[in-house]
Structures are given as structure tokens and as C-alpha cells.
């Protein structure tokens, strides 16, 4: 009887198939559905970010005209498009939205990888001083780029800044790992303390650089501390994209190793994971992604903690799903916050770092308090 009705109802049959596919306690199917939903959310966030602003732009209309002109081989590819709309869209909003997507996914994924590596949900490039190291690298280049570090700037061009931030992030991540690890065991307490010390030290040197900086450099440096996407340009998108995209595409090779690492380093080794290699790759990837995002947007905090944590609560800690889902949600989250930050006090603009901290800090506290309440964890 039930079988017949299930067969008749398409939805019922789907449920039956899902039950068969999804054994108890496994969250694969849910994770896939969530990832699909996050793709939709990202598309919506991008559309909203392109549309909303001091000037309302009919984005679909513009794109439609552009594509028709392009496909019909018309010489005037912008025919029928309001020129002002086109310029605002292509020169201001599109690079800014893309930069937001890149930075948001980089921050969220860096957080997720770092938490997996350190086996702790509170690890984050911002908290353990990696971002401060990246900031120091970038500040050095801004201040000394015209003098001492001029050769680097002439060799790497627009990539000099993200590479300097990457180098700074890599150094501090590596130092942190060396300090926090004794006999193959990483002590989280040591790690956090060392991260705070390293962050303060990097901050002090950055302070010295501020002291010797001229007016223009000072303006550039101040923008760092606040964290903002306001300076977005195609140049920045192209500068950050290679490092961040490489990291995002390489993520799948980390997922199984990080999953095994949930059982501890020894058990991961027994399961065929080359733990030291996994650590090395993870550290380089975190430094690359967070370094590049710090280089183009300054210190935007808490995205790396909130996003992976929320996702772990919904789809579980399986890194095969957690990492791509973090990238998607991180991108959407930053694009959405950026849209709010540039419209809430329009025509002025609130630095996005203030907004993410405004949401993130209470969330972080809630996380700490909630953890204390759970004796089993």
C-alpha cells in the first residue's frame, strides 16, 4: 500500500531513494544540497551587489544588451546601454564584487584549513597573527617600495604587494608552527600565545614603518588597518586572483588528509596520510590565500571563524564539503557585508572590517561561552 503510493508520487519516490542513498548519521547528501544552495546564494549576492548602490543599475538589462551586441557581431558593443551605467558597472562594481568574492572565499577557506590543521575551531589567520605577518610584509613594500625594496617592485610589478604579503604570512605561519609544535604534537595553547606575540611584534614593526612613512604612504597604510574593499580595481583583482584561485583549486587534495587528521596526527599517519607534507602544503596555501587577501583588502577579521563554524554546525566537519562550502559562503558573506557597508551610511562608506568585527566579535564570544558549557568537548 505504502509502496504503491510512493511509486505514484514522484516526490515520495525521491524521498525513498534519498533514504536508501543516505545511511543514518551520514551528512553527504545534506552537504551537497547545502553547497548547491550556497551557489544560488552567491549568484544572488553578486547580482544584488552589482545592482544596489547610489545608482540603481538594471544589471540584467545591461548584460543582455551587451551579450546581444557581442553575439550579433555589432561593431558598437555598448549600443542601447546607458554609458554611465556601463562605466559604474564595469569599472567600479564588478571589480569590487569580484574582489569581495576572492577575499571572502580566501579568508573563509584559510580559516577552515587552519582549524583543520590545528584541530581547533578557534584557529584563524587573523587571531594567530598570520594576517599581522602578511600586513607587515605589505607595509614594508608600501613604505620601502620606492627605496630599499625597489628591485622587488620592478621585478614583480602589480604582484609585488600580494607576494610581499604572502611572504610575510608564510614567515609568520611557519614560525608559529615551529614554536607551537614539539615532538610532532602541536600545542594549541602555545600556538595561540605565540600567535598573539608574533602579531604584536609584527604590529610593532609595522608601527615603526608608519613612523618613517610619508603622507601618501601613510594614507595607504591606514587603509590596511581598517580593512576595506573600497580601493577595488581590476588591477587588484588580477593581482590577487592567481594566488587565491590556485589555493581554491588545490583544496581537494587537502580534504582527505584533514579529515583523517580529525583523529589525530598518529592515526592520520596510520591511515596513509603523509602528515608532514599535509602540514607544509596547508601552511603554504593558508599563507598564500590570506596573504593575497590581506594585500588587497587589509585586515578583515572573523570571516575565517564564523563561516566554517556555521557550516560545521549544519553539514558537519567533513572537509570534502566544508572547504568548498566555506569558499562559497565566505564569498557571499563578504559581498553582502560590503554591499551593506557601502550603502548603510551612503554617500559615505563604512569600512567593511568594522562590520565583520561587529558581527564576528559577539559570535566569537558566543562560541567560547557555548564551548565552556559543553563538558564533553
Amino acid at each position: 500500500m505504502i509502496e504503491i503510493s510512493l511509486k505514484r508520487l514522484g516526490a515520495g519516490r525521491m524521498t525513498a531513494a534519498m533514504v536508501e542513498k543516505q545511511p543514518t548519521g551520514m551528512r553527504d547528501l545534506l552537504a551537497r544540497q547545502v553547497i548547491f544552495a550556497l551557489v544560488v546564494v552567491l549568484i544572488l549576492a553578486i547580482s544584488a551587489s552589482l545592482t544596489i548602490g547610489p545608482i540603481k543599475i538594471p544589471v540584467l538589462d545591461v548584460i543582455q544588451h551587451y551579450l546581444i551586441n557581442l553575439l550579433s557581431g555589432s561593431e558598437e558593443s555598448l549600443a542601447g546601454i546607458n554609458l554611465r551605467d556601463w562605466i559604474v558597472l564595469s569599472e567600479i562594481r564588478l571589480p569590487r564584487t569580484l574582489l569581495g568574492a576572492l577575499v571572502g572565499s580566501a579568508l573563509a577557506v584559510s580559516g577552515a584549513v587552519m582549524q583543520g590543521l590545528f584541530r581547533n575551531p578557534l584557529a584563524d589567520p587573523g587571531i594567530v597573527g598570520v594576517s599581522a605577518g602578511a600586513g607587515l610584509g605589505a607595509a614594508s613594500l608600501i613604505v620601502l617600495g620606492g627605496t630599499t625594496l625597489a628591485p622587488i617592485v620592478s621585478i614583480f610589478g602589480i604582484y609585488a604587494l600580494p607576494l610581499a604579503a604572502f611572504g610575510g604570512g608564510l614567515c609568520s605561519t611557519w614560525l608559529l608552527y615551529r614554536i607551537g609544535t614539539r615532538g610532532g604534537v602541536t600545542s594549541v595553547a602555545t600556538l595561540l600565545l605565540a600567535g598573539i606575540a608574533l602579531g604584536a611584534f609584527a604590529g610593532a614593526i609595522t608601527g615603526l614603518l608608519v613612523y618613517v612613512a610619508d603622507d601618501q604612504q601613510l594614507r595607504d597604510l591606514t587603509f590596511w588597518g581598517l580593512g576595506s574593499l573600497a580601493g577595488a580595481s581590476w588591477e587588484k583583482v588580477f593581482a590577487a586572483a592567481p594566488l587565491i584561485c590556485t589555493t581554491l583549486f588545490l583544496l581537494p587534495i587537502l580534504a582527505n588528509g584533514l579529515n583523517a587528521l580529525m583523529l589525530g596526527e598518529a592515526a592520520a599517519g596510520h591511515m596513509g596520510v603523509r602528515v608532514q607534507r599535509l602540514k607544509n602544503i596547508s601552511i603554504i596555501m593558508v599563507a598564500a590565500a590570506s596573504g593575497a587577501s590581506v594585500a588587497v583588502s587589509g585586515g578583515i577579521g572573523f570571516v575565517g571563524i564564523i563561516v566554517p563554524h556555521l557550516l560545521r554546525l549544519t553539514i558537519g566537519p567533513d572537509h570534502r564539503y566544508l572547504l568548498p562550502a566555506s569558499a562559497l559562503l565566505g564569498a557571499s558573506f563578504l559581498i553582502a557585508t560590503d554591499t551593506i557597508s557601502r550603502t548603510i551610511v551612503a554617500p559615505a562608506e563604512l569600512p567593511i572590517g568594522i562590520l565583520t568585527a561587529f558581527v564576528g566579535a559577539p559570535f566569537f564570544l558566543w562560541l567560547l561561552l557555548r564551548k565552556r558549557g559543553l563538558s564533553s568537548f
Binding site: 548519521g25 551520514m26 551528512r27 581547533n120 583523517a260 587528521l261 599517519g269 591511515m271 596513509g272 566537519p317
Partner: protein, 280 residues
């Protein structure tokens, strides 16, 4: 069960398929050797156990044999040197049950066990590999626990979940190329109640009966006597004796090994001897 005690001197260098062998094994933390010049041959198809007092080097020995600790000397599995087997390949040849496992993030029971089904294990269909999870949970008497949070389980239940995970990793005792798989167990029953102690020992013994190798560090002398095919006695990092239960379970051998007066008794209707410690 043969009564001849196998002494290290009798070991030949010709390695039959599937055996686990150590020659002149030395392991040391910070140069002080914990394991000194230890050699043995363990054949698959048997349940091997390691006994010895606390701090004698049992766990260190197991860690060296599983490749977790670096060592000098030579360890071979299936005739192949442990240090030259690729990590991914080794993971399909032997599973290791640690004493304790602390999870970094909350997982459900079936998610923990599913970690044991390795991605590079291509034997059987995906569905069959997936079904292993539930079969393994059934073997350790945890049916119906699939959706439970691992963190919410008792220590003994968690240990059984971990065993199910390890069983998934080395599912069939004989690999498709004919080589034997090994189970390394570090005090597998120390946190379990008596029913589940027997159950886990039965699983290990069954794995050996089906052709796999089992090597377990044990604490409980009586449980070991009931299930083990061979017993290695380690003291101060040295292999004192390796042999069958009948050969090793003698008053003077065990008293000497544990530095305490123990008495081995035999009870009618029970094949395994019983060990009692004198006190008072």
C-alpha cells in the same frame, strides 16, 4: 597451538608471505634506547600478543612496528621493508587501533567509521565499501549507534567505534594479491566491560583465523591466555621470550617478567591457564 617457544636466535631470514619480522630493532627517545636489539618473526593467521610491565616498551615497540616511530634495524611486512612501503600502500596492509582517540570536531559514529574506508581502497563497489561501515558497527555491537554523536558515547563505546573504523580499513584479512593484512591493537580492551572484552578479543581472533595477522599489546594476563596464539614478553626493552601460551605461562617466567610473584594454575574444563598474583 605448538608448544615450542620461538627464540630470536632461531629466526631465519627467509620471509614467507605475510609475515611481520623485526631484526635488530632499536628504538630510542633522545638516544636512550627503549627497545634494545629486538628480533622476532610473527606469522599471519595467528593472534600474537605482547605482554610486559608498565614502561617495559610494549607500546613503543608497537609504534615502531606500525611505522609511527623511527627506528634502527629492520622491520619487514610481507617481506618488504617497512621504510620503503609507500604510506598509502601501507595503510591498506595494516590497520592500527590506538589506545585513545580524541576527535578534533564533532562527528557522528558512522562518520568516524567511514573515515576508515580509505579513498585509495578500490576493492568492491562503492556501495559495498559503504556497507562495510554498518557491518563493522554490527561486529562491535553498536548497531543503531550510527547517527549518535561520537562525543556523547562512553569511553568503551568510543573504543569500539574506533575498532570498527580500523576494521573498515583492513576489511578482508587476505588482500586480493594474496598478501596478508595486519591488525595492530594497542591495549584494545583496557577500557571495556567484560562482555565487550570477550567480543573484541573474538573479533581479533577471528581476523587471525581468516588468515590475517594480529598483534596486540595486552595488559590482562588471563584474557591473553584465553585468546592468544603466541605471547611475547617484553621487559626493559628486551624480548624475554616468544612462544605459545603453554610455553610462556610458567610461574618463573611471568614472575620474573612482572617482578612480582605470580602463580599459573590450571582449572579442569578450561584450556587456558589462570594467573593469580600473590599478595599480602
Amino acid at each position: 597451538m605448538e608448544n615450542t617457544a620461538l627464540k630470536p636466535q632461531q629466526i631465519s631470514k627467509n620471509s614467507p608471505t605475510g609475515s611481520l619480522e623485526a631484526f635488530g630493532l632499536e628504538v630510542g627517545y633522545n638516544r636512550a634506547p627503549v627497545i634494545k636489539d629486538l628480533s622476532f618473526v610473527a606469522e599471519p593467521g595467528l593472534f600474537h600478543t605482547i605482554l610486559g610491565p608498565n614502561g617495559s616498551g610494549k607500546s613503543t615497540l608497537l609504534k615502531a612496528l606500525t611505522g609511527e616511530l623511527s627506528y634502527s634495524g629492520r622491520v619487514t611486512l610481507n617481506g618488504e621493508s617497512l621504510s620503503t612501503i609507500r604510506a598509502e600502500t601501507l595503510a591498506l596492509r595494516r590497520g592500527v587501533l590506538p589506545q585513545h582517540t580524541v576527535l578534533a570536531f564533532p562527528l557522528t559514529v558512522s562518520e568516524v567509521v567511514s573515515l576508515g574506508v580509505l579513498r585509495n581502497d578500490t576493492v568492491g563497489t562503492a556501495k559495498q565499501r559503504r556497507n562495510r561501515i554498518f557491518e563493522a558497527l554490527g561486529m562491535v555491537d553498536l548497531e543503531g549507534f550510527e547517527g549518535r554523536q561520537y562525543q556523547s558515547l562512553s569511553g568503551g563505546e568510543q573504543q569500539r567505534v574506533q575498532l570498527a573504523r580500523v576494521l573498515c580499513q583492513v576489511w578482508s584479512p587476505i588482500a586480493e594479491d594474496g598478501s596478508r593484512r595486519w591488525l595492530f591493537l594497542d591495549e584494545p580492551v583496557s577500557s571495556l566491560d567484560i562482555k565487550h572484552q570477550i567480543q573484541i578479543m573474538n573479533i581479533a581472533a577471528d581476523y587471525a583465523r581468516r588468515g590475517g595477522g594480529v598483534l596486540a599489546v595486552m595488559h590482562d594476563l588471563n584474557l591473553t591466555a584465553s585468546f592468544a596464539d603466541t605471547v611475547m614478553v617484553i621487559r626493559n626493552g628486551e624480548l624475554k621470550i616468544m612462544g605459545s601460551v603453554a610455553a610462556v605461562y610458567k610461574d618463573e617466567i611471568l614472575s620474573d617478567a612482572y617482578d612480582h610473584d605470580v602463580q599459573v594454575s590450571h582449572v579442569d574444563g578450561r584450556s587456558a591457564p589462570i594467573v593469580l598474583a600473590r599478595h599480602g
